[in-house]
Subunit: 406 residues, 2 copies
């Protein structure tokens, strides 16, 4: 038994964001010579590779624009967002808003626009940057890119798709999951009917297609286009972090649409996926699993990844804030303890991204090809704000919430 | 100090091949209903997935044909090879010998012919099967597929290549390395001048391009098309197992061309890559490394893979048999001990494929998407035959070779 000090927690996330994580990126990632950001940063923040990945460029533009819009009109944050925004506008796409996957340091394209998530993160970035600057050009980039995304939903990889058409048509959880969040992100650019339609469609895809009550209430990564389970490597795949991240997007939709039952469902699924994905031997949440317990294709299946744990914190805390579920709070405490203990680097700023099954550092980096200025600071921001809301609702200095604690 | 009993070793590899590994595949992998082989087999040999991967289908055809050609005219082996050969002939390609990457159980194509190694293993398979059966159709498939490979060397992935042309043209070690072996594999199908040209070109690529004396004598996975080092994720990448496997192919070329200096170089590189790739903390050979010590892109970098260790055994033993290098023999002993201790399953047949850094089983499978009836049995066969040669040369029952032994 232990008291949970929500006020202290609020301060912990806020301080980590403002005094540790954001300063790290401002100090180490800005490419003042060519624009954009370095994201391949070693433990101390030194650049070890200069390639620029569109996912991460866009996510950092989004992060600093969002901070500027929601927290404080800080000029340094806006300048940082603009450094990436201008670089992306000038080099990130082929001239028709087809967003490359990666560029070299100077902005020359390296990898073709095969990846739909380059588009989704560009949309998020330019929508927030448009809001921050009032610049209509940015908003237009966001809106037009969003239209291209919608036109690609049936075959996101286009001509780079290596699956033979027709033999085993599967659909994947990632795009509806991301659209779930993207809708509210760019709400100010969409008309009400389009937003409504998008939200309903995402809720349908997640709750009626990828969520499987017959499997005990878990979310699978791939189903057939008819919505059936598939006993194949892809069809057996589970990605607990992915499913759990989608749950806080869904809770946001539940709040927006005033549907408490949707929030309740999202909380239940969050807890179920945690029970399923938690490593009972070493702690932490597995990266990939097979729903029939077979070996996965993914050799990294047992690794512990930063984003999986941070997204879980958001879903658990948000779930608790809406429902006051004790189960949610217990899991939150457990994941919080694991995450802060293993991912945070106590000697140097920012957090590790990749741990082995035992929770030991696997790659001593703070940023790379996939880890940038995104999940850690967004998670800190989200948890800070949820805790702020919990604290203001309860309206006392220190909330002493008794929790069962293992 | 310890005596090395080459006669006992010869018997160990031979017995493992004939009494353990080949019977496992004959018992569990044959799809008598639809043809071809199951390769996704769990610890006990039960099928957990029925997809058919062209690399593995072709390699098993090659393995059983080769055994039939080189060891014994065993009808069961030939029938096994034919089961896969006919399946591949009928379903493995698009009608024009463009070899798919994978098929479903019935032979419907799943993944397009984007992968050049589907072609190289098909060539090996049909060349050996042609030899085994005397069937000219098989030989023709091999020869024609080989011509297609040569026509694709500049851009093996063709339209599925996601790299933007021109920005950062790199060339990769894998294809020249595989061709190095393929030349001798299909020698009976090539005219002498073509074979000579192919051999010289492979030797040049490996020794003058990918082998880097200025880095202390290691082999890198990618260089620029001008043969320069590249300080990029791909350009920094090392794959010790890959480099070491190439060295026994090179020794074979050295023997074929009667160039002892080439064999000596290959032995030196084998030892250098082992010194470089050996995990001083937990033992075993790393899967991927970065030549500047930066974090790799590959999350599986520290894992210990069966093929890396088995190919190393072949190169070390072959190197020893040619040069009688004590260093080679010491390393052989070390890798032999690690490999048999960690990869062989003492309770059930066949070997594990994937261990974590500590040498613990990561995936409890005997076959999967990438591990089939190939590296383990080929390695057992190669070591058996090399030891047989060592033993026959020394012409005594037990060779007592004093080796230093850690």
């Amino acid at each position: 038994m232990k008291y949970m000090d929500f006020k202290k927690l609020e301060n912990q996330y806020k301080t980590e964001l403002l005094d540790n994580v954001l300063p790290f990126w401002l100090e180490h990632s800005l490419d003042k010579e060519f624009g954009g950001y370095f994201t391949c940063l070693n433990r101390k923040g030194n650049v070890f590779d200069t390639d620029k990945f569109i996912w991460l460029q866009a996510r950092q533009v989004w992060m600093f624009s969002m901070m500027y819009n929601n927290v404080e009109k800080c000029r340094e944050w806006l300048d940082c967002a603009l450094l990436g925004g201008e670089f992306l506008k000038n080099h990130g796409h082929d001239g028709n808003l087809n967003w490359y996957f990666s560029l070299d340091r100077k902005g020359n394209p390296l990898i073709e626009p095969y990846n739909i998530f380059s588009y989704t993160f560009a949309t998020m970035a330019f929508a927030q940057l448009g809001k921050a600057t009032g610049n209509a050009e940015y908003a237009e980039i966001a809106r037009k890119t969003f239209d291209i995304i919608l036109s690609k939903t049936d075959n996101p990889k286009g001509k780079w798709n290596k699956a033979v058409a027709g033999t085993r048509p599967l659909k994947n959880f990632a795009l509806p999951m991301i659209l779930c969040n993207l809708g509210l992100e760019i709400e100010h650019l969409l008309d009400e009917s389009m937003l409504k339609e998008l939200m309903e469609s995402c809720i349908h895809e997640i709750m009626d297609v990828f969520y499987r009550p017959e499997l005990g209430g878990i979310i699978v990564e791939n189903v057939t286009v008819d919505g059936e389970l598939s006993d194949t490597f892809d069809g057996r795949l589970l990605n607990p972090g992915h499913a759990i991240e989608a749950m806080w997007f869904l809770m946001n939709l539940g709040e927006r649409l005033q549907r408490p039952e949707l929030i309740n469902d999202a909380v239940k699924i969050t807890v179920k996926m945690l029970e399923y994905g938690w490593d009972k031997e070493y702690g932490g949440i597995f990266y990939f699993m097979d729903r029939l317990g077979h070996p996965t294709q993914q050799l990294e299946w047992d690794q512990k990844l930063w984003w999986v744990h941070i997204e879980s914190l958001i879903s658990l805390l948000k779930g608790y804030s809406f429902t006051k579920s004790q189960e949610c709070l217990d899991w939150y405490q457990k994941v919080h303890d694991y995450t802060w203990k293993h991912f945070k680097d106590d000697e140097y700023p920012e957090w590790y991204g990749y741990l082995n099954r035992r929770g030991e550092v696997l790659l001593p980096l703070k940023g790379g090809k996939w880890k940038g200025c995104f999940h850690v600071p967004r998670g800190m921001y989200q948890c800070w704000k949820i805790l702020e809301k919990i604290n203001s609702e309860e309206n006392i200095g220190i909330t002493k919430q008794i929790i069962s604690y293992s």
